[in-house]
């Protein structure tokens, strides 16, 4: 009851923090998609390069976020961005690379070789093949990677409150430092709910982006 009252009383703040959170993750994963997808496609041309890139991306994910922020503070301070928005976005950008690059790479590589041969035999150039066949077929799996990145990083972004990036993590950190369970619980629940809701929203988007003729395959997968 007390929690409920708290939520009502602070609805404005809560809404603002949620929007902040979404925009932070959205911008970061958006940029990550713009970089990760081309990288994922590019490395399908070279297996050795692919292995190194994927290895590097996996290592990045194993770095605890607190440590990553710690490393970035002195580095980015040089440019005057030691704390706040910029390092938070960069961290999420880095964490997002693995699911996005890996899913893109796998999806393009797994395009049925018969389709690739048909496309070649018909006389499509490499770019036409990518644009007309391979990318449309890979979209569902790429989108699954983006979803993973978003959900993962909604959690990571909560911690970015400690370097002053804002977002729902602010409630959690305040709850801890002020020993206020209400803020702590509301913050934590809001982060979880946000992750679940966004995941569903992206799933709906993924279905819309899936070429119609492939819906059956996707449902089966």
């Amino acid at each position: 009851m007390e929690l409920f009252r708290y939520v009502l009383d602070n609805a404005g703040l809560l809404g603002q923090l949620t929007l902040e959170h979404i925009s932070l993750v959205g911008v970061a994963v958006g940029i990550a998609t713009l970089t990760g997808v081309p990288i994922g496609i590019a490395i399908t041309k070279n297996e050795r390069l692919a292995r190194s890139v994927l290895y590097l991306a996996s290592i990045i994910v194993t770095i605890p976020s607190i440590a990553l922020f710690g490393v970035m503070i002195p580095l980015l301070s040089i440019f005057g961005y030691g704390i706040g928005y910029v390092p938070a976005v960069i961290a999420v950008l880095l964490y997002s690379q693995l699911p996005i690059i890996r899913n893109t790479y796998t999806a393009i590589n797994n395009v049925n070789p018969a389709l690739r041969e048909a496309a070649r035999g018909i006389g499509m150039s490499q770019n036409q093949r990518l644009r007309m066949v391979e990318i449309p077929l890979a979209v569902p799996v790429i989108m699954a990677g983006v979803r993973t990145a978003v959900v993962l990083n909604i959690g990571v972004m909560a911690i970015a409150a400690y370097i002053g990036a804002g977002g729902l993590g602010t409630l959690i950190s305040r709850g801890i430092s002020q020993s206020d369970p209400r803020q702590l619980i509301v913050g934590a629940v809001a982060v979880s709910l946000l992750a679940i809701i966004v995941d569903y929203a992206l799933l709906a988007l993924q279905k819309r982006l899936t070429p119609r003729g492939m819906e059956r395959d996707v449902a089966a997968a």
Partner: protein
């Protein structure tokens, strides 16, 4: 016209070099279907795919309509060649219409032109445009998908088609139907076609010429009838099978073997006349009764003619099955076996009796090819040593 000039492919594998195609020389005349046939791994697919450069030739040349393709741009070359693969390979993200208009769109046709073409193509493969153009490949049966695959290859009206076991993934009944449809289409379109198969019966049915491969080498290149009647060596002979003479039954039409001499009686003739005619023509058991329109109406047997008095119209037995002039001998043999008879009356397209065909004439016709061992098929064979 497709001409292969010393076309060779060597694959470098960890286990050493594999010669998949070894100095292949052959020529497919314009408008004909050439079947590449042979056991698994003999290099049929490799040879085919070197023509549209899915596989790069190690050496040798490909000529299309007399023009050396070596200098041509790969994409232009491929867009001028229709390509059908066994796995069909329709793009699942595109509608049927988008699939069959891929090549015209790549070639930059305008929208009305390729939309119109899509409808023409659907007519050609006997599928309903309204019902299918907006569907996706996953919503079609295997046989329908294969037809679409053929339509896609035909879209830009290429003079040359390459087909790698195009009907291999279809059940036997549907396959026969699609083969027939395809032959009907080819009779009008007159494409120059190179077609891989490992099914001898398909090769005999579809091919104007058959190229037999063994371990990367072209062993014999002949018309189906020449191949079956004069296999060049033991390998070809065993590959074609012990029953190869029977397979020739498919290739020969009644028209080539029947005799237009034929004794018959009318319903109004007496049985006495029937008996004397049976003796005159030297028939053993019976004579055919033909009605006024010239159609077979019944049989008068020798025993009835000898022991009974009266008119044929009152004493006949049911007429035997008949052979059409355009039936192949395989059907005729089957009818003879089923009816325990050694001859059948032959009828023309209007059902009128025009002669008869005997088992003896059939075996004689098939056997004569073996006895004479013709050398006239020589120009069809590849003879690298005589070229240039």
């Amino acid at each position: 016209m497709i001409r292969l000039d010393n076309l060779t492919k060597v694959f470098d594998t960890p286990k050493g070099a594999v010669v998949a195609a070894d100095h292949i020389n052959m020529e497919v005349p314009r408008g004909e279907i050439c079947i590449l046939l042979g056991p698994s791994g003999c290099g049929k697919t490799t040879t085919l795919k070197m023509i549209n450069r899915i596989i790069r030739a190690t050496s040798g040349k490909v000529f299309l309509d007399g023009e050396d393709t070596t200098g041509m741009n790969t994409q232009d070359l491929r867009r001028s060649i229709g390509y059908v693969i066994q796995q069909i390979g329709l793009f699942p993200n595109m509608t049927i219409e988008e699939n069959i208009t891929v090549v015209p769109r790549l070639l930059g046709w305008d929208r009305t032109a390729y939309k119109k073409r899509a409808r023409e193509l659907m007519d050609m493969i006997a599928m309903d445009a309204e019902a299918f153009l907006k569907r996706y490949p996953s919503e079609l049966s295997g046989g329908q998908q294969q037809r679409i695959g053929v339509a896609r290859a035909l879209a830009a009206d290429p003079p040359v088609m390459l087909m790698d076991e195009p009907f291999g993934a279809i059940d036997p009944i549907n396959r026969a139907v699609i083969q027939d449809e395809f032959l009907k289409m080819q009779a009008e379109l007159k494409k120059t076609i190179m077609f891989v198969s490992h099914d001898i019966d398909e090769a005999i049915k579809m091919g104007d010429r058959i190229a037999i491969f063994r371990e990367g080498k072209l062993v014999q290149y002949s018309a189906p009838d020449d191949l079956l009647s004069a296999p060049r060596n033991g390998f070809v002979e065993s590959f074609l099978g012990e029953d190869r003479a029977l397979k020739r039954l498919n290739l020969v039409k009644v028209r080539e073997v029947f005799s237009d001499e034929m004794g018959s009686v009318k319903p109004d003739d007496t049985l006495e006349t029937a008996l004397s005619r049976i003796d005159d023509f030297g028939y053993q058991n019976a004579i055919l009764m033909v009605n006024d329109r010239g159609e077979p109406a019944g049989m008068i047997t020798r025993s009835v003619a000898r022991t009974t008095r009266g008119y044929c119209r009152d004493h006949y037995q049911t007429a035997p099955p008949v052979a059409q002039l355009d039936d192949d001998l395989r059907k005729v043999a089957s009818l003879m076996f089923a009816n325990d008879t050694t001859w059948l009356p032959c009828v023309d397209a209007r059902g009128r009796v025009c002669g008869h065909i005997t088992q003896r004439a059939m075996t004689h016709h098939l056997g004569s090819r073996y006895r004479s061992r013709p050398e006239d098929s020589a120009p069809l064979r590849s003879q690298p040593e005589t070229k240039e």
